[in-house]
Amino acid sequence: MASAAFSVFDRGQAAPSDALGKSRDGPVVSQATAPARSAAFHVRRAEDADLAKVIALDMEVTGVAKDAYWADLHERYATRRPGERFFFVAESADKRQILGFVIGEIRAWEFGSEPCGWVFGVSVDPEVREHGVGERLLETISAAFRDAGVGKMRTLISHGNHLLMSFFRSQGMMAGPYLQLERDLP
């Protein structure tokens, strides 16, 4: 599974409230029309120039600065194997803000699983939540996975993160056939 699993998106997120236009994949494309502070946005592949804004957004959401981690993640997921690694950002229409991002990749045969798409990072600016940004990001990476030939998308969520789980469930995701186990090492 994803080597850098994480989930952000963890403060004040609720189910998105508007439906945005469908798109097959990014670089994108459709404009949101919800009455958000930043009403219009588009979703596209992350670029080098986005890194500082992504780090700032993650810092705002999680409260933890991790520049080196993000630089490494960006290098691996935004610049390599674009057919199976996906790093999308939602950018405001005026191109001044990054409103959210989603990261995932196709992994095969781990845990006995056929190839599937793993979403291991998703975050939306708290100021624009409930306006379809997360939904649009998930639609985009879903389309990218589908276009890459896989038919299943998975993620991993903390039991305690009911809001993030609500978001994924609102997008049609259900419990899968795997159960995560762990132990403390002596």
Binding site: A14, A15, G160, M165, S166, R169, S170
Partner: protein, 151 residues
């Protein structure tokens, strides 16, 4: 996991009403659809009303309307009005709970309870309505189809 009948009825009633926010639906219609007594459902509706999830509209053509937020109201919000869900306190006082075996058993049962709570806390009314639509079976969306489906 099995829900108590009052919880099941409450979930069904909320789904029926939330699926038709522009209609008032009588308790008799809902009771008829799910094969329960109107009297039993009335008590459930009363509890839902006190919780602010439904409101009654009096007069001709009156009935109930969903008054919660479908994108925020989760299954646990409804079910916990009628029963405790995965509540550790519920198990206190059980024989052998202070033994090491009792503790080990409690740890395993807590795992199950955690998953139950997480699941019920993350499924909203809105998500359930989408699931019903996807399943394409007879659900709330078929309430009221036709002129007088319930007598």
């Amino acid at each position: 996991m099995k829900l108590q009948i009052a919880s099941r009825l409450a979930v069904f009633a909320v789904l029926e009403l939330a699926a038709h926010p522009d209609r008032q639906i009588s308790a008799a219609e809902i009771a008829d659809k799910y094969g329960v007594s109107t009297h039993h459902l009335a008590k459930v509706m009363h509890t839902l009303g006190r919780a602010g999830l439904v409101r009654s509209v009096r007069g001709a053509g009156g009935g109930y309307q969903f008054s919660g937020n479908a994108k925020r109201t989760t299954l646990i919000d409804i079910i916990q009005l009628f029963e405790r869900v995965g509540d550790v306190e519920n198990a206190s006082g059980e024989p052998g709970e202070d033994t090491s075996a009792g503790g080990a058993l409690r740890q395993i049962l807590d795992e199950i309870d955690d998953i139950t709570r997480a699941t019920l806390s993350s499924v909203t009314v809105s998500t359930l309505l989408k699931l019903i639509d996807r399943r394409g079976s007879a659900g709330p969306s078929d309430v009221g189809v036709g002129a007088t489906p319930y007598s």
